[in-house]
Each structure stands twice: as C-alpha cells, then as structure tokens.
C-alpha cells in the first residue's frame, strides 16, 4: 500500500481546523516551518495492515502533514512479515520512522547501531511520560531509541456474568491459595479453570513470565532472561512446580490450540479464567458489545509475599527512527510529533480505543474495561515486556518456545528441559 499524503491532498476539514486555530497558529506555524519544513519527504513504516490501527496511524500521519506541510509516505506491511524481516529491513532501505516494540527487541537493534539516538526528543517530550516508560524506551547504552504509543496488560480475564452465576468474586482472589480453591470450585462445576494455549509456542510464555515474577521477583526474571542467572537454578524449577499444579485445571488440548482457541473457551463460557494480554477485548467487541461489557481483568495472584503483585507483563508498542533511513531528521521530527500529546490526540480523535502511554490522555474517556486495565497496571511497580520481547530474539522463539511445548507434553521432564535450555543459551553466538 503506497499512500502519498502530500500537503496538496490534506483532508479539507483538517485544513479548516488549522485555519480556525487562526491567530495562535500563525506564529507557531512559521516557527515550525523554520525548523521542520526543510526536512524533505519522510517515509513512515507501519507494522500492521489491520483496519483499526491503520485508521489510527493514518490519523497521526495526516495530522502531522497538516501541521508541518512535510510530505509523508505511508508504507504498510503485514505484522508477521515485517517482524521476521526486520533485520534485513533495517540494514537495507528502511522507512525513516517505523512502528516497533519496546524492551530488548528494541535494544537488540539499537546495540547494532541500526536505530537513531533520540535522547534529544525525550528531553522535549519526556515530562509527558512516567519514568517506567522512559526506562522501557532506553537502550543498553542509556540513551533513548523509542517513543511509546500504547500498551496492554497481561492478566486473568473472566466473564462477570459467569462468575456471578457461580457465586464467585474473582476480585477477592488475592493469593495462590485463593486461586487454587477457585480453580477447584470451577472444576467441581465441570468447567475448565484456566483456558490455555501453546500451539504457537509463544502463548505460554506469558504464564511463565508471571509465575517467575511472582515467585522469584522482577530482578531475577530480568536477570534470567538477560543470561545473568541460570535456567538450571532451583528457583526456575519452582516456577514449573507451580505451573504443574495448574495443569489439572487447564484444558487438555493446550498444544492444539492457538491463543484464539483458548479465547473461544472463555467466550463460550466453557472456562472460568483466561490468562492473556487484554488486546483480545477487541475480539469480544467484534462478537458483540454485550460480550465486551461482560469481560473483566484482575492481576495474577500473589505467590511469594516478598514480591506481592509488583510485576506485570505489559508490552508497549511505539515508534523508532531507522539509522539507514534516507531522512533521519525528518524521522525524528515525526517521532516527536507522535510522542507529543498533540500526535496522541490525533490518534485518539480517530475514535479507535487506545490505552496511551502519554500522561496527557484524558482517562475519563476510558470505558470500564480500559479503566480496570489501568488499575491492574497501576498495582504493579515493575513492567516487563513479555518473554519474546525481553530476551534475545534468537533465543525466545527458536529455543524457549519449543522447550515449553515439550514441557506440556511431559511435565515430569522439567530438569532435562531446563538443562537443555541452559546449554542452548550457552551455545548462542555472542552479540
């Protein structure tokens, strides 16, 4: 999809809006023309061809074009193809500004010198973000390479109406014992306690993350994924021991289902809980407003009181500027706009629901489910990005994914699987 949005083709209403801004606008516009007008054509790479995010991103680009008059080309690639090809993309002829993810997945490419340092952009827009977002946007060298757009939390999802029928209040589930007895009750009712999937190899990583963070804490989890702790550690075995306790309450066809198969179990009221990223609320909404309104989320229960419920997997999506792009300055100008409340507002104005990372978003516009997501998020002190974003890309997908799948086939072989995980980590080439 090649969509040239030049200043000649700007939406008429946006122009009128700009004109309405009138007197205030003139001074600002000339200033901007001075600093940004000279950047030349910019290309923007979208990591999606889905309908809703496309509307959102085009809203952002249109607003930028309307404001600065710069020419922006919008290039969209389907997300899997984009992700698999990113290394070549960045080494070759990337777009100036592109959509990407925070955490190790960004740091990995920043360390290879493929991303542009945007610390100066952060100096200007940094006060609009919480510290945790700045940390997630920072490379291993302490400089910023990323501007966050939105996030979603991983938590225990359930249907309010279903729990009310059973007479259970999941908001009361605080620790592991509460959780186990709730699962037992669901099983006694002939229901699946916890809907799970791992056909894709990545779905179960979320469960591993949260169990490890709950049992061993944030620092150990980060160190383990960074290779500073060993997979053969007894503390990791403890994670799998807890996971094994959950197995009797899971559906038996974990390896046959992709995440949306497990979601079906919740949608069709066959399962009590579903541990997943909240993005699937969109699928419930697609089914019906009623199903969406019925959906709720609570944090995963506490296991080790030392760490309480202080960590959450909340992957952050956002933007980067590519070093090999033709127009680094233009890319930086666009990313600054995207991170600034003005750009965020342009995305929100499209009417596509988004939980923005920017503090300026009016949270009163959140629906009930979004407000609850924020509450779950706010209970946590530490944010992790999800296993496949927090560790080396050549380790997460090709090594951890199959290891978890083989664990589901034979949970008694935990020790051998962990030994093989560690030896495969050790065998990885240095970066």
């Amino acid at each position: 999809m090649l969509n040239k949005i030049s200043n000649h083709e700007v939406d008429r209403r946006l122009v009128l809006k700009g004109a309405a801004a009138g007197g205030l606008g003139i001074a600002g516009a000339t200033m901007l023309a001075g600093c940004a007008g000279s950047t030349g054509p910019i290309s923007f790479g979208a990591r999606t061809v889905d309908e809703s995010p496309t509307i959102q991103l085009k809203g952002l680009v249109d607003a930028y074009v309307a404001k600065t008059g710069n020419e922006v080309t919008y290039n969209a690639t389907e997300s899997n193809a984009f992700q698999n090809n990113l290394s070549q993309y960045l080494q070759g002829t990337p777009d100036d500004c592109f959509q990407w993810m925070a955490g190790y997945r960004m740091q990995f490419f920043a360390a290879q010198g493929l991303l542009v340092d945007i610390s100066d952009v952060w100096d200007e827009i940094g006060d609009q973000y919480n510290e945790s977002y700045k940390i997630a946007s920072t490379g291993l060298d302490g400089k910023q390479y990323f501007v966050p757009q939105s996030w979603y939390p991983w938590g225990l999802h359930f249907r309010k109406s279903m729990m009310a029928e059973i007479g259970m209040n999941p908001e009361d589930i605080y620790n592991w014992d509460d959780f186990m007895s709730a699962l037992g009750e669901l099983k006694a009712q002939g229901l699946i306690g916890l809907a799970s999937a791992d056909k894709g190899g990545w779905e179960a990583m979320g469960t591993f993350d949260i169990l490890n963070a709950r049992i061993n804490g944030y620092q150990f989890h980060v160190d383990l994924l960074g290779g500073r702790e060993k997979w053969t550690d007894d503390r990791v075995k403890e994670v799998f021991r807890h996971w094994e306790m959950l197995l009797p309450y899971m559906n038996t066809n974990v390896l046959d289902l992709e995440w949306d198969g497990a979601m079906q179990l919740l949608l069709q009221r066959q399962s009590g809980f579903f541990f997943n990223g909240s993005w699937f609320g969109g699928n419930f909404l697609e089914q019906s407003q009623e199903d969406y309104d019925d959906l709720w989320i609570v944090p995963f229960p506490e296991i080790n009181p030392d760490h309480a419920r202080d960590t959450i997997d909340a992957p952050i999506d956002g933007f980067c500027v590519a070093k090999n792009g033709a127009n680094n300055d233009g890319g930086k100008d666009l990313i600054k706009f995207a991170g600034d409340m003005e750009g965020v507002q342009a995305m929100l104005d499209t009417g596509i629901p988004m939980t923005s990372a920017n503090n300026g978003q009016d949270r009163s516009s959140y629906d009930a489910f979004q407000t609850q997501q924020l509450a779950v998020m706010n209970e946590a002190k530490y944010i992790t990005q999800f296993l496949d974003r927090d560790t080396r890309p050549d380790f997460a997908g090709p090594v951890v994914g199959p290891a978890l799948q083989s664990w589901f086939k034979d949970p008694s072989s935990t020790d051998e699987i962990l030994e093989s995980l560690q030896s495969q980590w050790d065998a990885l080439p240095p970066l």
């Binding site: 999809m1 090649l2 290039n75 949306d260 079906q264």
Partner: protein, 300 residues
Amino acid sequence: MTTNIKVPEFPKRKKKLYAQDIKDRFISAFIAIFAIVWVFPIVWTLWSSLRPYKEIRAGGVFSPPQELGFFNYEDAIGRMELPTYFANTALITLPAVFLTLLFGSLMAFVVTRYSFKLNVAMLLLFTAGNMLPPQLVFIPVFKLYLILGDLVGDRRFLYDNHWGVVLIHVAFQMGFATFVLSSYMKTIPKEISESAMVDGASVFTHYWRVMLPLLRPPLASLAVLMTTWIYNDFFWALVLMSTDSKRPITSALGRLQGEFVTDYNLLAAGAMIAAIPTLIVFFVMRKQFVGGLTLGSTKG
C-alpha cells in the same frame, strides 16, 4: 469337434478379458483415491472460502453451514489491492521467464554444440547451483545487493527493486533451464548444425535461425513451468524487498492476516483468487505442461 475346440477357447478368452477388467478397475480405484487426496484440499479451501469466519468460530470447522456466499471474495478483493500486486507479479515474472529462457538456451547451445574442455564442468556447475536451498544463500545475496547499491550510490539499485528479484530468479532457474534444453538439444541431429556451418552461418545465426526454432517445444514447456514457479515464489520477494507495495501477489495474501487473529475463511478466498492466473496458464498451455514433466527424461 469344432464345438469341442470352441468350448475351451471361449471361457479362456472371457477369463483374459475378465483379468484385464479387474486390472482396469483396480487402476481406476487407485487413480480415484489419488485424485481425491489431491483435490480434497482445494475443494476444502473452496468450501471454507464461502463460509463466514464467525460461524466457524462459533461452531467449529465441521458445523453445518448456515450462510454461504461470495462475501469473503468481495472482502478479499477489497483488501488485497489486486491491481497493484498483480502488476508487481507481472513485472517480476515476465522478464524473469524471458531472461531465463534466453540465457538458458544460449548456455545450452554452447555446452552441447561446441566441445571444449570445460563444457561438462560448466553444465554441472549450473545444475549444482540449482540444488542450493535459497534459505542458505539469501544473507550473502542480500549483503551483495546492498554493497552493489552503495557502489552505484543508490541502495535501491538492486535491493527493494523489481530487477533485483528478477535477477535472482534468473540465476536460480537458469540451471534447470540449461539442463533441460541441453538434453533436448542433444537429440537434434548434429548434421543440422554441420550443414549450417558448411553454409557459412555465424555462431549467432546458427543459434538464432537454426537451433532456436527447433527448440520451440521445450521452450514452451519451460515457459509454463517457470511461470508457475516464479509466480508462486514468496521468499525472495520477502527478503529482497522492503517496501510491501512493491512485492508480488503472494505477499498480498499476508494482508489478509491480522496481527493476532487470522480469518482463515477470508484467507482461503484470497488463496483461490491468487491461484486463478496459474490455473489459466495451466489450462491454456496444459499440453506443454505435461510435456514439460517428461522432458529430458527419455530424450537425454
């Protein structure tokens, strides 16, 4: 007497016919089984493409259909931006097939009609190159394209450019084309070449006016085979191009996939649409297609 002779003869002939009959039926059954195995996925895709994803999600794949129609096709045509991607495919496939056949026939001509020290080695080299899996060589090719691009001063000289993909297809398919054409050329009597040379034909006239017209059948079959192979390629366009709007139709299918959800029924409709041109090529030129399968197998 005569009746005595005829009696044993009659059942004997009948028995022979009967055996042939069993054999025929057996073969028919065998063919039928294979036909079903081959046709089943296509029919299933067609069937899926007519049903809404919502229904599958609610009732599973085997649920009885409540709604059938071409809505997936309408949706797929809207989202795939067919004109752009079909044009891209044509821009890659047509030059690639033409150049493969041109270079392949030139190569085969030299290797079979002129004997010099290295001609067998060259033929082997070309055939061996064909055996290399593309996944093994794509990183060096990618780097090479970038380096060449930097030398020229434009990174998009070969990388992210139709011609880059065309060239890699030519390089990969030429081995097979050379192999097939040279084995066909060996069956053309040497006397034809000798008389051409006696009549004073230059090397090029010999190739262009004498050999090429004789090569028409294998060239036609190869053209059909190459077209379908290059048309179906997904890999090279993915790794050697960075702008999605330049990629061929096979990657347009990806546009029907979501980041988290894939509507398989919509994808099935898209796959059917993408397969139409290959089907047309096949039905128009199916004689050559079948001929192509046995080329070189008996004539080498």
